[in-house]
Amino acid sequence: MSAVIEFQNVSFRYNEEKDILKNISLTIEKGDFVAVLGHNGSGKSTLAKHINAILLPSEGKVSVDGLDTSDDNNLAAIRRKAGMVFQNPDNQIIATVVEEDVAFALENLGVPREEMVRRVDESLNAVGMIEFKKHATTKLSGGQKQRIAIAGVIAMRPDIIVFDEPTAMLDPQGREDVVNITKKLNEQGITVIYITHYMEEAAQAKRVVVLNDGEILIDGTPHYVFQNAGLLTSVGLDVPQSTSLMFLLRNHGIKVPLAVLNEEECISVLTDLLNTKESINGSDFKG
């Protein structure tokens, strides 16, 4: 694997008072799925906006596929390589009709019309919204709007997509849809940076980076990161329910692995636990 995004000693501030990002160094590999966690105001959105040059570092350097984001000549190429999906579904839809919104980036890029038509269909299919092609964007649900926004980004055929809390304003159904689409895109080879404060969403990533007050607090696989429940709660975060349960069981002297993140893992651990108990109780009974 090769590095596709590189932060080298990046600091960022709006004014002299406070550094929003403090000397961040971070390398993201091609094809990775990186969840960025942090409480409100930890700097995670600021970090995201550096990836496609919406914000430029006050100090240090960010490069995307080898292109320095602070070089104006690279701007168009970077924006095309790294698409971005934002939190508020209402504020990122430009057109009133679904298909026209999906085509917006392509129009800006000067893509010929026949190619555009093909890509709009392809992108709408990828997010499962093809039957809404001719619908008015304002009449869609939050989750549907967010899927349209994603389609608008994938139409550019980016290598990287940055999701900045895409599910924060959605209902559970919309959230699930967005997460599933994100995973699918990653499987197809797109590098995903996914900012969230839903622990269960972060648990589905390949790598989790936790930010606190503009610094990287912990960085590793979800299994590694979520084992540090104490550290996470101390900075206003949480762990998935399944992980939480393992901690509680351990506190009661029951030996279970801590690296349990999702439903399947939890079910299998608990099944083992209940089965062994049954056999122990069974033998006790015989004895």
Partner: protein, 271 residues
């Protein structure tokens, strides 16, 4: 009440009218309005009414929706009719106090009302059957020669597009904020002018703040999707190729105008 405003609304559909080239539709609408101002005789008005209703049927949008657009104009309609009835010169029919009702007046009033009525229907038809993006795109294309003399046609059209896109969102938001302030006991219905104007602050301030936030978000989102602010090098998703239907409609309208001019010379029932 806010929800009654139908201007700029679009009803997606697939009727003959929906499918017309937007440039043709804009030209047709302008010609049609001109046509409404040419006609002067009852026969011509009857003819225009018939055409209008046929067009309404063709859009497959219920007439009720068009009539809704008239609601906010009801006052103006009645007021102009009133003026026409009482302040036209001509043969007096009835006379009382300072008012004189003339047959000319009644005729003018009826014609004026019909004219406004058809005017509203024609403009509504344009926005109801054409998505705002397509409409502004059509306008941009029609006005594109002006870009050569440095008139910012693309910028203007993008502004229109965004304004139209956000009208429903902002209306919805206004409703939400009004309800929220009502829940805190705000009263928008009673009191004098100053009290009412003051009562608007709790709505307008959040609305402005939110509009600026949205504008900021949207600008970032547009930049992220490679928008550079100029129309140069852009392609268009919506294609504009004139079909036979477009040519036919232009011909039909030309024929209509000719017919109207002819009917202007025909008098019916003594008018």
């Amino acid at each position: 009440m806010i929800k009654d405003i139908t201007i700029g609304q679009y009803f997606p559909g697939d009727s003959v009218i929906h499918r017309l080239d937007p440039r043709v539709k804009i030209v047709l609408a302008i010609l049609y309005i001109a046509f409404l101002f040419i006609i002067q005789t009852a026969a011509a008005y009857l003819f225009a009414l018939a055409v209008t209703f046929i067009l309404v049927r063709l859009t497959k949008i219920p007439l009720k929706m068009y009539l809704r657009g008239l609601k906010p104009l009801l006052f103006i309609l009645i007021f102009t009719a009133f003026l026409n009835v009482f302040y036209s010169t001509g043969e007096p029919l009835v006379k009382f106090w300072i008012f004189t009702v003339t047959s000319e007046g009644i005729k003018n009033a009826i014609f004026m009302m019909l004219r406004i009525f058809m005017l509203v229907i024609a403009t509504s038809m344009l926005t109801y059957t054409t998505s705002p993006i397509v409409l502004t795109g059509g306008l941009e294309r029609l006005l594109s020669p002006l870009a050569k003399i440095k008139i910012p046609v693309h910028e203007f059209s993008m502004m229109m597009t965004i304004a139209l896109r956000f009208i429903p969102t902002i209306l919805e938001e206004t409703d939400k904020i009004m309800n929220a302030q009502k829940a805190r006991g705000a009263d928008f219905e009673t009191g004098g002018l100053i009290k009412r104007a003051k009562a608007l602050a709790p709505i307008l301030i959040p609305l402005f703040i939110s509009a600026f936030r949205r504008a900021d978000d949207l600008a970032t989102a547009m930049e992220c999707r490679c928008y550079t602010g100029s129309g140069e090098g852009r392609t268009h998703y919506v294609s504009y190729s004139m079909s036979s239907a477009d040519y036919v409609s232009l011909l039909v309208l030309a024929a209509m105008i000719a017919a109207a001019v002819f009917l202007n010379f025909v008098t019916v029932m003594g008018f």
